[in-house]
Amino acid sequence: MIKVKIHINGTEYEVEPGKNLLHTCLALGFDIPYFCFHPALGSVGACRQCAVKKFSGTDDKTGKIVMSCMEPVSMGLIISTDDPEIKVFRAAVIESLMQNHPHDCPVCDEGGECHLQDMTVMTGHNYRRFAFRKRTHNNQDLGPYIHHEMNRCIQCYRCVRFYKEYAGGTDLNVFGSSDRVYFGRQKEGALESEFSGNLIEVCPTGVFTDKTLREHYTRKWDLTSSPSVCTQCSVGCNILVGERYGLVRRILSRYNGAVNGYFLCDRGRFGYEFINHPERTRKVMARVRDKEFPEEIPDEDRWSVILSAVKGKKLAGIGSPVASLESNFALEKLVGKENFYHGIPDKTFTLIKTAVQILKEGPAHSPSLKEIEKSDALLILGEDPMESAPMLALSIRQASRNRSFEIAAGSGVPIWNDAVVRELAQKIKSPVFIAASDKTRLDDLAEEIYNASADEIAGLGFEIASLIDEAAPKPKDSGKSPGGTAKKIADTLKNADNPVIITGLHYNNVKILYAAANISRALVRMGKKASLSIIFPECNSLGLGLMDGKPLEELIEPAGMRDVETLIILENDLYKRFDKERIDNLLNNCENVIVLDYLMNDTAKKAGILLPAGTFAESTGTIVSNEGRAQRYYRVLPANGQIMDSWRYISGIIDLTGKKNSSKWKYFDNLVASMTDAYPSLGRIREILPDSGFRIFNGKIARQTPRFSGRTAINADVSVSEPGPPEDEDSPLNFSMEGFKGVPPSSLVPWYWSSGWNSVQAMNKYMDEPAGTPAGGNPGVLLFDNKNGRMAEYYKTE
């Protein structure tokens, strides 16, 4: 990459050409105010806030005001970011925006996290000359997640650009003109897009705010936050969880340039209230004789009750695809490999094992979401990504734009010049093919859609593979796909530079996996850089698939049940996965049933002993995403009473039963060490994910901001004595304001803040450039990127 020399405020800088000037200035650390620019949405030049002065040469003393977001960086560019005329203009833009802006700060949700506040301070505007009435709007009820307050709008247009153009939504739009412009729905009602929650972060003011946060509102600076990983699907988006007074308040996006980027889906953002739910299990409960449900027992009795259920008993353990690797491993260690059951229908587990095998063998690459976005031809074979992995579907939508970027580049138009790119390319897209059994919400992108049964979809896949490489086996009913669909797809994938196949376990059909593998192998054989993405059902399905486990069907059979005296079930409502009758039988026949869970679900109700497991917000654990990326979530709620990480309870039981254990698991890191010893394929987790000994300038990383308030008042109603802050022995994070407050490695970022940047825009200070790589690289460690390069065999079609 040949750099160019430009002059900013009299100093020479060497920078990458082709980016827009605002992006480059921000990357260099200049604080330029802006609104309508967004690293993921590009530039449109609407708000006029990012003005700088451009000089035609060293003799030019007056210069010209230009918008930095629309100015391409080129050799010899001379600009000033602090020219007096520019400062007046920037303050004037804020003054304009303040004309109609309500004086809501004290009562506005956004306050303290508001980009408009930050830019107002940055430009120095402070005195209102506008002496007339402000225009007002009516608000709409946009559903249970987004609160609407249109008076605060500064018309940056980011909301509709994100919602419609980036996320493909159709029911949010801009209405009216002049200073009466309105952003909302044509008719009041819940927003339909799966990504509507991002409006909260994309909106620079308090127009769109988190309605769930409003139920239990607190200011951003008062939150204790932790880096975490979403557990709602297998994509593993990175999140920030914020709590105060023991209540989880809200979820924000945490930047991972390889996975979710700046955004989240609504399921991940708003699906946390189960943590605060009144039906949470918070205490150890035991079933007293003849009672219908388990009940609370005295605190001091809990370990003796547990001990009596496990000491000297034949144990069996049932794991879970939503529990962390560490919890599953701990259970396996407690009950022994021959007594550990993976807890999902065996057919699904076999599919997971097959998928893991395919990903391990390759040779196709297992792509990150960012890599999927770069694809120039995509085939979705037997999956519905909008249902099973929404953020992956969003990446597919971005990938469909790649052809338009090529066309724009041919006319010398850079990608960031968003409106121009879209106008030039019109409806031209990169090819996306969908083979599914019903309509999907990505159909609007598809060049061709093949709707058929799962087996027929597999047949299509085998045919495509055989058309790419004639050595690949043909399906029995070869050529049955209508209208040359298979040929069209095969030709397109063959001619692409970066083809991606997306498949998954959605249809529970192993032949679909075989077919997808064959297609990817055929492409690699033909010399293509192909990628294969497999969508798993749950957040740690792949992780569970990396471990061993016996099928629960064996245990459910009368023969299996006879041996078990105490059954330990880890975070798994078996009634959701198996027939009621068989689970009833199983649970009734075991002498003791110990359940570790966080909700009083049907399985928990049947427990003899119910142990309150920590949710992701109350626990530390590692899970593996569908890409094969191992990521760790860190608790945000300190250990509270009886709620503990599942692995901590199990570790306690191991100690209780006096089982021989090569290492004591008082500390999380010790457990991880044991785990990676037992499963070398997980070894990289220890190499790359920071352990609890990690320090920066001898400090742990503070979960609370420097402005956190009420530290001593919080418990004053209980006791005026000031307790020490809770310890976190599992991670390099502190539960206090103490410690390092700068930019930590990306997997340990607890909150975003930078001097002058209190809003989520501060995220950009944590990376080398906007939409770039965060400090320390993107979070997570890839478990499958060391392929041996050996050409894998084709799967048979029958």
Partner: protein, 424 residues
């Protein structure tokens, strides 16, 4: 005096049908262009004639056409679009041509489309010009029937379709890029330039947008040549101009006169001078978004260059007269109110600045204005300068404001001191 554009327009009688238009030699230009000339030759001819755009910007027409690339990366059509969205306040010249001689425009469009190798062309007409739309639809049908439109025009192998599309409204759609967005069915907001429409226009394709009056010249220039065109004017800019006058003059109207006719002649000879009892205080020469001229400028030759040297712009050449019995502040407020209402709402300075200016001007009228409000109005004029906004709407809007503040400052001050409008 030659009046090529309007000689066959008789107000009160129907416009010439195709046969009558052919008899006047109207389609001779089309014959010559398509049968005897190459597209590049036509563009060169128009360039050499010096014809400049009559929509208000005065950009050299031939030069604009030359920006259309010969080949494009993606296959598709090129387009010619006629901007018939005449909504500049005070302007009514295009209407005269649209209602009066539709075939003149159609002939111009055919030649222009051929010059840039467009296969599709549109007339984007203001919704309110319903009468003209009906007339033009009839003329288009006549042209298709006669073989001047459609496939293999005049046996030359050239195909051209011509459509008329009536706008969904709003002044900003007269701005060429907002027009293209509106024509595509999108929100009528302007686009950033570059890229210019010649490179990325309608549906992202190479497009030329020209004004009605500009295109009406093309059949004449092709038929009679560029030297003929040049000698029609009094200055070097070539051709005639449709000049209009409205306001308190004895005979407001529209006249086709040599380009460069003096302001004095237009107002006092053709428009009959001021009505009895009224004195001239100011002239807005080219539609509302131009700066004032005063009695000191009466000898200005009304062409683009000469008017620019007075600090104003020729614009559309249709003038609005400010008389001495009309309050200048109210006059200006009326225009700013229009522009504020017509702001598309995309960029901050225009969207917020223009309504604030209106509110301030209202306070002058009400008598509640303070001295610092003049400073704020001047600040707003500088704030909405060209380059600070996304398009030329707001910079145009503040032209009457900032020139009015200069020439009529005393009147503004009187409103403040006397706490009411002295004209009421």
């Amino acid at each position: 005096m030659e009046t090529p554009l309007t000689q066959y327009i008789k107000p009160g009688t129907p416009p010439p049908g195709i046969k009558e238009y052919e008899r006047t030699g109207g389609y001779d230009g089309v014959q010559r262009a398509l049968k005897e000339m190459k597209p590049a030759e036509i563009t060169a001819l128009v360039k050499s004639s010096g014809l400049t755009g009559r929509g208000g910007a005065g950009f050299p027409t031939g030069m604009k056409w030359s920006f259309v690339p010969e080949k494009t990366e993606v296959k598709g059509f090129k387009y010619l679009v006629t901007n018939a969205d005449e909504m500049e306040p005070g302007t009514f010249k295009d209407r005269y041509l649209l209602e009066g001689n539709p075939h003149q425009l159609i002939a111009g469009m055919i030649i222009a489309s051929y010059a840039i190798q467009a296969q599709k062309s549109y007339i984007f007409i203001r919704w309110a010009y319903k009468k003209a739309e009906i007339i033009i639809r009839k003329a288009i049908a006549e042209a298709y029937e006669a073989g001047y439109l459609g496939e293999n025009i005049l046996g030359t192998g050239y195909n051209l379709d011509l459509y008329i599309h009536s706008s969904a409204g709003r002044y900003i759609c007269g701005e060429e890029t907002a027009l293209l967005n509106s024509l595509e069915g999108k929100r009528g907001i302007p686009r950033t330039k570059p890229p210019f429409p010649a490179v990325s226009g309608l549906f992202g394709r190479p497009t030329i947008v020209n004004n009605v009056e500009t295109l009406c010249w093309i059949p004449h220039i092709v038929a009679k040549g560029s030297d003929w065109f040049r000698q029609l004017s009094l200055t070097g800019e070539g051709g005639t101009k449709l000049y209009g006058v409205s306001g308190r003059v004895k005979s407001p109207g529209l006249w086709e006169l040599p380009m460069g006719t003096s302001l004095r002649e237009i107002i006092y000879d053709h428009a009959g001078g001021m009505q009895d009892g009224y004195k001239l205080r100011g002239v807005i020469p080219g539609g509302a978004s131009t700066d004032f001229m005063t009695e000191n400028h009466l000898d200005t030759k009304m062409d683009f260059e000469s008017v620019r040297s007075t600090g104003s712009r020729l614009g559309t050449g249709t003038m609005i007269i400010l008389d001495d019995k009309t309050c200048p502040v109210a006059f200006i407020r009326n225009m700013i109110k229009f522009f504020a209402d017509e702001s598309c709402g995309w960029c901050t300075p225009c969207r917020e600045g223009l309504p604030w200016a209106v509110k301030l001007l209202d306070s002058f009228e009400k008598g509640t204005a303070k001295e610092e409000d003049i400073g704020i109005l001047e600040f707003l004029s500088r704030y909405m300068a060209p380059g600070n906004t996304f398009c030329a709407h707001a910079p145009g809007a503040v032209e009457p404001l900032q020139s009015g503040l200069r020439y009529f400052r005393k009147d503004f001050l009187r409103h403040i001191e006397e706490k009411h409008c002295p004209w009421k």
